[in-house]
Symmetry: C2
Subunit: 431 residues, 2 copies
């Protein structure tokens, strides 16, 4: 299909959801994509652009004529326009802004003035609101006569005369109530507002925690300036999870369609940190060269202790990082969690100490070696539980993202402690 | 406050959202919780129970009288009742079911007959529907006269005479249209239905991908049986992420309030697998005891190669597992991704080979040792990129959850390859 020009592609793409078209564009390779886009003129509309991942969006936008881009963008809600503009060069931004209605342009420019990843960037400006003293009938008549309602809205926000939101009414309640009911009688009690400068992660957390569907956004004077809907909050939640999982693995942000060089650059820092960590551990080993030279079995067994500690530490650390992200790990239960992790390390350590003791005896015929590795195992697993919880909690207190930095610290601790405990004990007992 | 009896607690708790009350109950320790609950009679209502994590819910439910439990549960939507019943013993289940209206009981029992973690369990039975031939005015009058509307609903589902859903209308469109408009004129084109037996993870994925707010659920005969709303889908998405992140770390499911014994049991299997892996690696080292005995520097440096490989492998593996979960890694781009990961491993390997070569020379004054560790580093990072992508993809094809099992396989590969490449090369060159 791609080789030939034609409207055939439009016919094929037409029934697809914009999100699926975007996924398809992401999965084909670069040359196929540029051929497809050059043939499929005008096919990429604003919805598809919104769904594309950022690294590709730039390239696709570059390939569009300013008018194509402007017409693609005109039908989007303001939050989606803001999302697109964030990635554009100054020239493209100007072209898009010019294509918008005056009112939309002002709204978009104002949104762009809020910090990145804030509620102000996430919200859409199209809000359906009504004065708090209205009755159901007035609100329904108002909605029926209003031409320019947003595509999706779920609440009517009630405001006081100074535009401060004071509550909201679900459309379901509005439809189910008598026309002479006061709107203030049927407001929802789950009402919450966000401030324009609040972090989008906190917004997503609150949507999930309180089962919100939409929530008004207010500026510093508590005036209503926009509304955030749950689908945007869900997308943020998804992104935050992705960041957490990738940071824990030391991958950084990025996507499957990144090039080799970009990906290498992103992964390099973590590996470099790990190299320093590993060399630190090696320095510990180097202190015991004499013992190892006499008992080579130590060299054979020592990675086991370090590896078990690293794994146990990663377990504790992941639980802690996740619990910090979901606000489940707080000052009131941190000591209980630390105690639990240490006890878990102790119990698992004792079990594996027995196992490794037996292995040591069977393999090397040395009960002493078995005892040494067993004790080192217990020590390292206890330390792993301790470090795996304390380090992320401390980093969080210091304002460092625990998902990003904990891994390196925890494995350093478990490597150093593991090698030191095992080889140090061996030196004391065997020499 | 806790020491004294009284309604003081109710006054304190009253303004809190049920989700916050549940979080508070989760964070205090066991004895404080049971004291609080024994004093705060009747305080825990159905909403709080729904928000509690499963491991605590059982205990709290056990502490309630059957009547308290029944009254707590009566106001919940059917999906929340189902969620609660899943955790109860047969006796409690019976008490709750008896407390429900006949219609609700039948609905709940039917939902329980669907497989766990299916759309059928997730949906609520309270659906607002209308025949497809109705006009806007008829629908509005119907809604106004209906006493028992669900708490939250966002769409009116249109059905054909055989109860098959054929589309839906947003309440916003309903309110904004003239009374004589046909409902079929204002249906949304984003309409999607799910089948009762579909996996809840797929449902959550579709909600996020297609920005759905609610979606009807149909049985095997395509008849409408319920509706899933985005807040439930968001909760599932959150859970699935949590599972992925915990499985990647070998932690298994579980929560912060689990006891030491439960936690130990959950973490033990992964550590046991890791022990086998580590012993395998040790067996490789044991093959080279002679070389190590002569050149103890090898014992000092060998963990560095393995550790770098393990980290690089974890990076590739996390990206692959995440991309499989979001359906971004498919047959059409798997070879491109594998090629990229291998090339990234090669480039990073070459850089670190140079670094380690220099370290080898400076530390041990041996250019040969530097070269050996450099080459081993390149080999191991390339293999790490390959294994980190191929193993999760293969596990997924075999129907095994890649998040759960990939880690052990990948680190086995990088450990074995790392030690073998380094010590094997050293044996060839140095002996």
């Amino acid at each position: 299909v791609e080789a030939q020009d034609g409207d055939a592609i439009s016919v094929l793409m037409e029934p697809l959801h914009p999100a699926d078209i975007a996924d398809y564009l992401e999965q084909i390779d670069d040359s196929a994509r540029s051929r497809l886009l050059s043939v499929w003129k005008g096919g990429v509309d604003g919805d598809v652009l919104s769904e594309l991942e950022e690294s590709l969006r730039e390239g696709v936008i570059d390939g569009l004529e300013p008018q194509e881009l402007a017409s693609a963008v005109r039908d989007l809600e303001t939050d989606d326009v803001v999302d697109l503009l964030e990635d554009m060069g100054a020239e493209q931004q100007g072209a898009v802004l010019e294509a918008l209605d005056d009112a939309d342009r002002v709204a978009v420019e104002q949104s762009l003035s809020y910090p990145e990843e804030s509620a102000g960037r996430l919200m859409q400006r199209e809000v359906v609101m009504a004065p708090q003293h209205w009755k159901v009938g007035q609100a329904i008549d108002f909605l029926r006569n209003e031409d320019d309602l947003p595509d999706d809205f779920y609440h009517v926000v009630l405001t006081d005369p100074r535009m401060k939101p004071v509550g909201y009414v679900t459309l379901g309640k509005l439809l189910g109530s008598r026309r002479d009911t006061d709107l203030s009688e049927i407001v929802e009690d789950s009402f919450r507002t966000f401030r324009v400068d609040q972090d989008e992660g906190d917004v997503a957390y609150a949507f999930n925690q309180y089962h919100l569907i939409s929530a008004p956004v207010v500026d510093a004077d508590e005036r209503l300036v926009g509304i955030i809907t749950i689908d945007d909050a869900m997308a943020v939640l998804d992104e935050e999870h992705e960041e957490d999982i990738l940071r824990l693995a030391g991958v950084g942000e990025g996507s499957l369609s990144d090039k080799v060089i970009e990906t290498t650059k992103r992964r390099f820092p973590w590996l470099a940190v790990n190299l320093v960590t590993a060399i630190l551990a090696s320095l510990v080993i180097a202190q015991f060269e004499d013992v190892i030279a006499q008992f080579v079995a130590l060299a054979v067994l020592m990675p086991i202790v370090a590896s078990m500690g690293g794994n146990a530490g990663t377990q504790s650390l992941t639980v802690a990082v996740r619990a910090i992200a979901t606000k489940d790990l707080t000052g009131s239960n941190v000591w209980r969690v630390i105690r639990r992790e240490v006890l878990v390390g102790l119990v698992n350590g004792l079990i594996f100490a027995v196992v490794m003791g037996v292995v040591g005896v069977l393999w090397f015929g040395s009960p002493v070696l078995g005892a040494v590795i067993g004790v080192a195992m217990v020590v390292n697993l206890v330390i792993a539980g301790l470090a795996g919880t304390v380090i992320p909690v401390a980093l969080e207190k210091l304002g460092v993202d625990p998902a990003l930095a904990s891994g390196a610290f925890v494995t350093t601790v478990t490597d150093v402690v593991g090698f030191f405990a095992f080889l140090g004990l061996a030196a004391m007992v065997l020499l």
